[in-house]
Symmetry: C2
DNA sequence: AAGTTGAGCGTACATTTGTACGCTAATTTA
DNA sequence: TAAATTAGCGTACAAATGTACGCTCAACTT
């Protein structure tokens, strides 16, 4: 890669990072202005356009990138689970850790999921869908579920986890422990219930 | 109430209604400007302040009012369920109807739940909490659950329902049917799972 | 009847925003 | 080496926003 392309990439990163850094509990992506992001990245407002068509394009980039980061981290955590122990417990703990080290990635996904732009909502849904289908395949193989049931189960699990994540963002570290415990209980409910429904169906035939 | 107070109340309503009417899939509350709302309500921008300290105060009013509306409608629907039939199925159908006739009430709750203002998030959480505790009490009595388990179950149910609601807002009527079916399945999972966990606990003693 | 209150208005202003346009200077290409 | 490309900048402008201020006049109070 030439010197020029390298520098361009660097500036682009600066923009993405600037945007991520400006996110907080009080500041959503859609409340950021192009000028603010450019200012934080240390470039002139008009230079922004050399990298993104508009703020929307930057936001979609962030969603994609964020979703990828999250999935990579969760996958790493899953390897821990293979060493033995409760899959649910370990996954929840991993999730909380991921959440704590990437709160802003999480925030943009959560907020734009119910956001004002169809493109954003679709992008977030796509990321969540990745989680769901990974999990559904896992469960289908592991627990011998009907595809339909596996899908419904996986979706329920992911939704509960994400929602707990949203709550966790507003909690102190000490309160997060209780939240995690309650989440584990709920996930067990779903898993147990899915198992029971599956057996009922199997016995019918 | 005097003529004067009556007129004031009327204008206040016009403001609240104007704000609700401007909400849509493409327009969130936080993207509304004070001037837009005033314009739609047919008053001068500066007159807005005779009714609300700022847009924040208007928004909180809308959340409270919206939550109340939703709960009243769901309660009415529950009476239908008492006539017999699956509680879950009837509740889900009621919910979809409520959603369809009040999409904007729903939108503001969903969006501000992950919003940028702590006051908003707290207000929405309060409304959701109402749903959860109503349901938890119902389950505790009906199905003889531990308070802890009843709470976890109720929370899981409400979260799944709200999330399905968020998805439903983006769907055509025909696709909503499938969504409702999947939701029913998930709710049954939780209910069945909770029952199984409860029995396991009971047998331990 | 006289005085007070307050809802609604119009004017005004400082800020912030997105973006069009044309320039510069360094890198890349030929 | 000469020509072409392009990242980044500065200037400029129209549009929109929140809100301060002071006025009016109908409704209420005394």
């Amino acid at each position: 890669m030439g010197v020029r392309a390298q520098q361009k990439e660097k500036t682009r990163r600066a923009l993405v990072d600037a945007a991520f850094n400006q996110l907080s509990a009080e500041r959503s992506f859609s409340s950021l202005s192009l000028r603010e992001v450019a200012r934080e990245a240390g470039i002139a407002p008009t230079s922004f356009y050399r990298h993104f068509k508009d703020m929307n394009e930057l936001g979609l980039t962030m969603v994609d990138e964020g979703g990828l980061t999250l999935r990579q981290m969760m996958r790493k955590g899953r390897q821990r689970a293979e060493a033995g122990g409760s899959v649910i417990r370990i996954s929840v703990d991993t999730f909380i850790e991921v959440l704590e080290s990437n709160p802003n990635v999480f925030r943009i996904l959560l907020h734009e999921r119910s956001g004002t732009s169809a493109a954003f909502r679709a992008a977030v849904e796509r990321e969540i869908e990745h989680f769901i289908s990974e999990l559904a395949h896992y469960t289908e193989a592991q627990a011998n579920r009907t595809p339909e049931l596996a899908r419904a189960q996986a979706e329920a699990l992911v939704i509960l986890v994400f929602n707990a994540g949203a709550s966790a963002l507003d909690l102190k570290r000490s309160e997060r422990k209780a939240l995690a415990d309650q989440l584990v209980l709920q996930l067990r409910m779903v898993a147990t219930g899915a198992e029971a429904l599956q057996q009922k169906m199997d016995n019918r035939t």
